[in-house]
């Protein structure tokens, strides 16, 4: 049997198809993108080696407002961490506390997570519509007519208006992460807390939250990295506008490459996004781990 399990032909047959596709499409393109980012290239003509000029343009000269896009994605990440995650935590704690209809609520809250972003965003474009949208209609109905406004097309309101559907769609996901973590804790912990007379808030702050730290770390990474690589919501609802008010690194990268044909320069942006995602994953992992120790 030992010999069978060392069969090189079988090994190649089992491993190579997946490994080749994976390397060619996921791993190697990171190197290719890094190489492109050092070129001046319009995608058709000859490419010219450009050194770090693209990055100088990007960060020092800030020609296309790249820092604005980084700031916007930073705001979205902060909103996710300080609004979406606490909300998800409250819902999870409540459900796990033992309420009637626990299963039903969990099912309903999770539903938007699996619906296509394109559908969700098109729906919210309608909800925000000035004339017949749900939001402005509700405002008029309760006598706040002056509050009705084109939410997505004003620089001041556009970014929060993009954020709202994101919370609406993904709060159920983070809720489920926390809920699953809480449910996997041993029942006795909560029983003894109850006997000691601990109330909802005390149980949550002193017992539950510290015990599900590992899952909080995971959800933080998902929320932050998700904001940094956000593309669909912005592309569909505002296309980065008005006046870059909702532009994020991914949409600027997309436009730079496929609308302006600046392949090298746009690749610089994609390298930045990759590094940003790696870096913050590591920071969150390290940061929370050191506090645990």
């Amino acid at each position: 049997m030992e010999k069978l399990l060392r069969n090189k032909a079988a090994l190649a047959l089992f491993v190579l198809p997946a490994f080749i596709i994976y390397c060619a499409i996921v791993l190697i393109p990171i190197l290719v993108s890094s190489w492109y980012s050092l070129l001046k290239w319009d995608g058709v003509g000859k490419s010219v080696f450009n050194g770090l000029q693209n990055f100088v343009e990007l960060f020092a000269r800030n020609t296309d407002g790249f820092w604005t896009t980084v700031k916007n994605s930073g705001i979205l990440a902060a909103l996710s961490v300080f609004i979406q995650l606490p909300l998800a935590m409250l819902i999870a704690l409540t459900l796990a506390w033992g309420v009637r209809g626990e299963q039903f609520f969990r099912k309903v809250y999770f539903l938007p997570v699996i619906i296509s972003t394109v559908v969700i965003c098109q729906l919210w474009v309608q909800i925000y519509n000035l004339d017949y949208g749900l939001l402005n209609g509700l405002l008029r109905a309760v006598g706040l007519k002056s509050w009705a406004q084109p939410w997505l097309s004003q620089p001041r309101t556009a970014l929060p208006a993009v954020f709202l559907p994101i919370v609406w769609q993904y709060v159920g996901y983070h809720m489920l992460l926390y809920y699953t973590a809480i449910k996997s804790l041993p029942e006795e912990i909560f029983d003894s807390a109850r006997i000691d007379g601990a109330n909802f808030a005390q149980t949550a702050i002193r017992i539950t939250i510290p015990l599900i730290r590992a899952m909080i770390r995971v959800s933080l990474i998902f929320a932050i990295v998700g904001s940094f690589k956000l593309f669909d919501h912005v592309y569909i609802m505002t296309y980065g506008g008005p006046m870059q008010a909702t532009e994020v690194p991914s949409t600027l990268m997309y436009k730079t490459i496929f609308r302006k044909y600046a392949y090298g320069y746009g690749s610089g942006m994609s390298v930045f996004i990759i590094l940003e995602c790696f870096l913050f994953t590591l920071i969150v992992q390290r940061g929370l781990r050191s506090r645990e120790g």
Binding site: A10, P17, I115
Partner: protein, 290 residues
């Protein structure tokens, strides 16, 4: 119970406090339910109205006249049927290929004896952190040079590749729960490695393969960035690209857009209604082990 009867009626005994808290929590959960469901209700009634009704101030009510023709217009005129079939083909092939390839490589990593198995596993898991943005342009250039833009393959390849990491994570985790005795007995009986894989491993893996299938369905069926970039031929557009194309073009008929959106979510909602627990388990699989 004993404590509450002693301290009198009406006072906030611990028991009553608990009931009050539960009542408040329940009310809040119901409110959130309304918030989560209401946009879907809005979409459903929206899809059955004419422009006159939509502009006429009847925003959340049932249509005064039910315009079912919005649906026939969406399916035929707006080509939703075509986009739907394209999505099914791309998603279907992606699921089959992903399930097959990830099962094979996971078996090799967990059961075959070779020196690089841990490194290969590590490389696959690294992919959980890699954003799809990194592949967008390099793959575009390759596909263009191979004249593969505007083909199903242009989407299936990246969908499979980016689905492999989570699939390998789920499957290798599941292998740890499968006892090796069955395989060992089969080898002793003279079965070949391929026979063991197909007749013993694959059936045992079934629950995990279902999870992988659901995850792959969601990522492929809902994917937008690759689809928008690699497909521009009307005939080959998937649902996400097709629906995206409505912006600006069907502005004259809002009800048709609504109907298209409803049709697009139907398969996902059906899967969810049938398998909500597996879907939830699948989508938290990465977080639980990661």
């Amino acid at each position: 119970m004993g404590a509450s009867s002693k301290s009198g009626i009406g006072a906030l005994t611990p028991e009553n406090k608990r009931k009050l808290l539960n009542g408040v929590l329940f009310a809040v959960l119901c409110l959130i339910t309304v918030v989560q469901i209401f946009p879907f209700w809005y979409l459903a009634v929206f899809s059955l109205k004419s422009n006159d009704q939509i502009y006429g101030g009847n925003i959340i009510g049932l249509p005064t006249k039910w315009i079912w023709s919005n649906y026939s217009k969406a399916l035929i005129d707006a080509k939703i049927i075509l986009f739907f079939v394209n999505s099914l083909i791309v998603t279907g092939v992606t699921i089959v290929v992903t399930v097959a390839l990830s099962a094979m490589v996971s078996y090799a990593i967990m059961r075959l004896k070779w020196r690089l198995s841990k490194i290969v596993l590590g490389l696959f898991l690294l992919g959980l952190m890699i954003p799809q943005h990194s592949a967008l342009l390099p793959l575009f250039v390759i596909l263009r040079n191979l004249h593969l833009l505007n083909t199903y393959l242009a989407l299936i390849l990246p969908y499979v590749a980016f689905a492999l990491s989570i699939a390998v994570l789920v499957l290798t985790g599941f292998f740890e729960t499968i006892p090796k005795e069955l395989e060992e007995a089969a080898f002793i009986d003279g079965c070949s490695i391929y026979r063991v894989f197909f007749s013993i491993i694959m059936p045992l893996l079934a629950p995990a393969l279902a999870t992988v299938g659901i995850l792959t369905y969601l990522s492929a069926y809902n994917e937008m960035m690759f689809a928008v970039t690699y497909i521009s031929t009307e005939r080959l557009k998937t649902l996400t690209v097709g629906i995206l194309g409505f912006q600006g073009r069907y502005t004259t008929n809002w009800g048709t857009i609504g109907a298209s959106l409803v049709v697009a979510v139907v398969p996902t909602v059906i899967i969810y209604l049938l398998l909500s627990n597996q879907v939830q388990k699948g989508l938290t699989a990465g977080a639980l082990k990661g």
